[in-house]
Symmetry: C2
DNA sequence: CAATAATTTTAATCTAGATTAAAATAATGC
DNA sequence: GCATTATTTTAATCTAGATTAAAATTATTG
């Protein structure tokens, strides 16, 4: 039987598929994209996808897991690398924006949660809650250490996250636009936080 | 034959339907909501909807027209009532937020544009472009009159709009939450604009 | 190269949900 | 109350797209 080499081949293909799927879901929504839409992007048949994934729902679910993974990483790095709450918030926004516009493609299809089946949905909702909570913690930290002006962290968190999550709705992959977003968005979103 | 009374009856029912549809589309997306989903909310049969609307696509389209109408109104009122650019921006955000959380229901399903057929899509995209442009004009006005700090109006506009458009993803109709959003969001979104 | 495992395709199914037609019910004007 | 028009339902269609099974192709390994 085949060993490590195959494992890698399989994983690579699977990764390509998830990436293509995430991109489609982002553009057309879950129910709006057919498996043929996804497979066409890869020069495959729709049936081929079933070799990599149990069914369509599993496909979004995997996209979400990947998005959650990337999000968690971004959060961790931000908390590790930032000295003050403000810096952590700034870094997190920077990393999150990067996920949205980077060449990894838009991994995060945060709008499709209703399409998940109950167990998966609950899991993702839970992860998502924790994620929001972490960001609010950062804001609180900033308020405590004086780097961020006192504010309602729940609302402020939602406002900032929404801004970023909405990016895929108007950003369509042009490289120069990506650069612009990367360079300007973080400053715009944190300007309102700055204290002093 | 029936006259004005019926006209009104018809219009009222049609309005209820559009409202229910918008709400469903917001929760589950266009392809994710069946006509049965919509009709169930109203105690009707799915077939009944066809008396009011040519087909499903027409339904989203009408929702969009209504959303666009409300958006335009909000923009006009804001421009009329605000003295400075900053005030206009603040008012517009306030009105826009109100549309999202008000009892009119979430009219704006700005994510479903890809589901529209070409003509309708182009029309809505055009309207949407004009709308964004109007908001950017407000920001420029504010910069010119000194009430808003110089900034990239394109990016800033997108950031603010995104925040608001994302609200339906996490706001689920609880009245006290609506009040909180209404009272806090505008300040949060404009804090970063303030000059001086 | 032969044999086995991995990957993809072709060709059916199967189902949900949009759409339609005809019939039934409710409302209205006279 | 009758006749007409408005509204809704019931009962079929019709179709796109998800899913599956079996066959074909491609890699891998010894």
């Amino acid at each position: 039987m085949a060993r490590k080499a195959d494992e890698t081949r399989f994983e690579m293909q699977r990764h390509r598929i998830l990436k293509a799927a995430a991109s489609c879901f982002n553009q057309k929504g879950y129910s709006g994209t057919s498996l043929k839409d996804v497979s066409r992007h890869l020069g495959l048949t729709d049936a081929a996808l079933y070799y990599y994934v149990r069914n369509k729902e599993e496909l979004v679910y995997q996209c979400y897991l990947r998005a959650a993974e990337l999000g968690r990483e971004a959060m961790e790095r931000a908390v590790r690398d930032g000295a003050t709450g403000f810096q952590q918030a700034h870094l997190y926004i920077q990393y999150h924006v990067e996920i949205m516009v980077g060449d990894e493609g838009p991994v995060a299809i945060m709008s499709e949660i209703p399409s998940l089946k109950r167990d998966h949905r609950n899991e993702i909702l839970e992860v998502s809650r924790r994620h929001s909570a972490s960001f609010e913690k950062i804001l609180e930290r900033g308020i405590a250490d004086g780097s961020i002006d006192p504010c309602d962290v729940r609302m402020t968190g939602n406002a900032i996250m929404g801004s970023i999550n909405w990016i895929p709705k108007w950003f369509h992959g042009k490289a120069d636009m990506a650069a612009e977003i990367r360079s300007k968005f973080p400053a715009i979103l944190t300007r309102g936080l700055k204290s002093g």
